[in-house]
């Protein structure tokens, strides 16, 4: 059967899970146009979906494959079906066109860089430390960080690979199209940030979480408030701080507190110099804006 574009050949993908929670897999399942996607792509192996081969076949033989997806952290002593994860990566690394690290664990190590395995880390980075053993694969790798990934970001990137689009990447190999934005961009609480209305309380529509509740959105790369989660919402819109899950620093300590030095946030909006930030903050804070001081929806 031909896909809607009249093509016969599907792109073959191997979804290889390392030290993972399967969150990326289930986030991927929220992709709204899965039927169309599965017409264009074929999983030679997927940890949940029916696939062409069994895990045993995949790890012991080299099957034809175009894109290798690595989900979860890797380590020296982690095995899938009794084969070391690094050996499985090496088995497919040279023959595939592209490697995509799916999620923050596969990209930076994420939460599981603290796991009990032997030197757990991402494919090319452990935190922001460059790893050398897969250096030769760097020019074919794309990182889709996030804990979990946004399904559209992953799927769009796979299509861009399929279409041989020239994908511009940032220093952590993330597509700029999705990671040049900060999570702050598009947040419904932006005005409270702009005018430094900092008295946020949980459970309310009003207020910005940057000042007291640890929100990392102004310095976290991601499209969470541009491409909404589950096509509905985002953490910050629903009153939860952004925990910076797309970054190499994830998970920081004290995730619900804003680290401040004498009342001044230690981490400032991405690329904004401290002096500029403080000057603007001082000026905007001076004005009390009635509309933002009261409830949005009054009784």
């Amino acid at each position: 059967m031909k896909n809607p574009n009249g093509e016969n050949k599907k792109i073959k993908i191997l979804w290889l899970s390392g030290i993972s929670c399967y969150g990326n897999i289930h986030s991927f399942f929220n992709y709204p146009h899965m039927e169309v996607f599965l017409e264009d792509f074929e999983f030679i192996y997927h940890p949940v979906l029916d696939s062409t081969f069994s895990l045993k076949e995949i790890v012991n033989e080299t099957k034809e494959c175009n894109i290798l997806l690595i989900d979860g952290a890797i380590s020296d002593d982690f095995h899938r079906a009794d084969v070391n994860i690094k050996d499985i990566i090496n088995r497919y690394a040279t023959s595939v066109n592209r490697i995509v690290t799916v999620g923050t664990c596969a990209t930076f190590g994420g939460i599981f860089k603290y796991s009990d395995f032997q030197s757990p880390r991402g494919l090319h980075f452990c935190g922001d430390e460059l790893q050398t053993d897969f250096l030769h694969l760097r020019n074919k790798t794309i990182s889709i960080s996030g804990c979990p990934i946004q399904p559209e970001v992953l799927v769009n990137t796979l299509y861009e690979i399929k279409n041989q689009t020239d994908i511009k990447l940032d220093t952590f190999l993330r597509p700029k199209e999705y990671y040049a934005y900060t999570v702050h961009n598009g947040c419904t609480r932006n005005e409270y940030f702009e005018y430094k209305v900092d008295g946020h309380k949980f459970g309310e529509l009003e207020g910005c979480l940057f000042y007291d509740h640890g929100c990392q959105a102004p310095y976290t790369a991601g499209s969470c408030n541009k491409i909404l989660w589950n096509e509905q919402n985002s953490k910050t819109r629903s009153g939860s701080p952004c925990f910076g899950c797309t970054e190499y620093t994830f998970p920081k300590m004290s995730l619900y507190d804003t680290k401040k030095n004498m009342g001044i946030p230690q981490n400032l909006p991405l690329g904004v110099p401290k002096r500029a930030y403080l000057t603007i903050a001082g000026v905007t804070k001076a004005f009390s804006i009635q509309r933002l001081e009261k409830k949005l929806i009054d009784d």
């Binding site: 030095n261 004498m262 001044i264 002096r275 001082g282 000026v283 001076a286």
Partner: protein, 194 residues
């Protein structure tokens, strides 16, 4: 353009001196104009009212002090050394250009109604406050100053310096301001350090 800026500065300097000598309310725009041998009409080309002039002056002082602080902030020295340099800088200005600090203390802080429209909060002193913030923030980040609320530290620092300049202005201090630099710097640093 250049000329206008210079003229503006001249007006600000003349006004500062008159405010210090005669008091803010007793000084009129014609007084300032005549001290500069300007016509009142020409004066209005620069400042449309005394209130506007008052606000411009505080911004001028804030920028002036802010620049001095910035130089200190950008030096690669310890927070303790910076503290001493700030105290020295402040007392030097209080001695060489007393009208400036005087204006800050006696006009800006004492006549808030003049500044309520357009100089809300710290809007007109932001350059100065920003540098103080940076001084504190970097001190905490380097582990030299203890973490505390900004205003409790700000009040301690600026209140102390302002108080000394005030005592000096009232001719109560037995010694020159500079005599106190070491002790005051140590006191401030000890109160803020980790």
């Amino acid at each position: 353009m250049e000329k206008k800026v210079t003229k503006k500065e001249q007006i600000i300097q003349a006004a500062l001196e008159l405010f210090a000598y005669k008091g803010f309310y007793s000084t009129t725009i014609p007084d300032i104009a005549s001290s500069l041998k300007m016509s009142v009409g020409n004066m209005y080309n620069y400042f449309k009212s005394k209130d506007i002039l008052a606000k411009e002056i505080i911004k001028y002082i804030s920028i002036y002090l802010g620049n001095e602080l910035k130089k200190i902030n950008e030096e690669q020295i310890s927070t303790k050394e910076k503290t001493k340099k700030i105290v020295t800088m402040y007392f030097n200005i209080a001695s060489s250009r007393p009208e400036m600090i005087d204006y800050f203390l006696r006009v800006y802080l004492s006549n808030r109604e003049v500044f309520k429209d357009g100089c809300e909060g710290m809007a007109c002193v932001s350059e100065f406050v920003t540098e103080i913030m940076i001084f504190f923030e970097e001190g905490v980040q380097k582990g030299e100053l203890k973490e505390q609320d900004f205003f409790s530290a700000f009040g301690l620092f600026m209140g102390y310096l302002g108080g000394m300049v005030f005592l000096n202005g009232e001719k109560i201090l037995p010694n020159e301001l500079t005599y106190y630099i070491d002790d005051i710097s140590n006191n401030i640093y000890n109160a803020l350090k980790k």
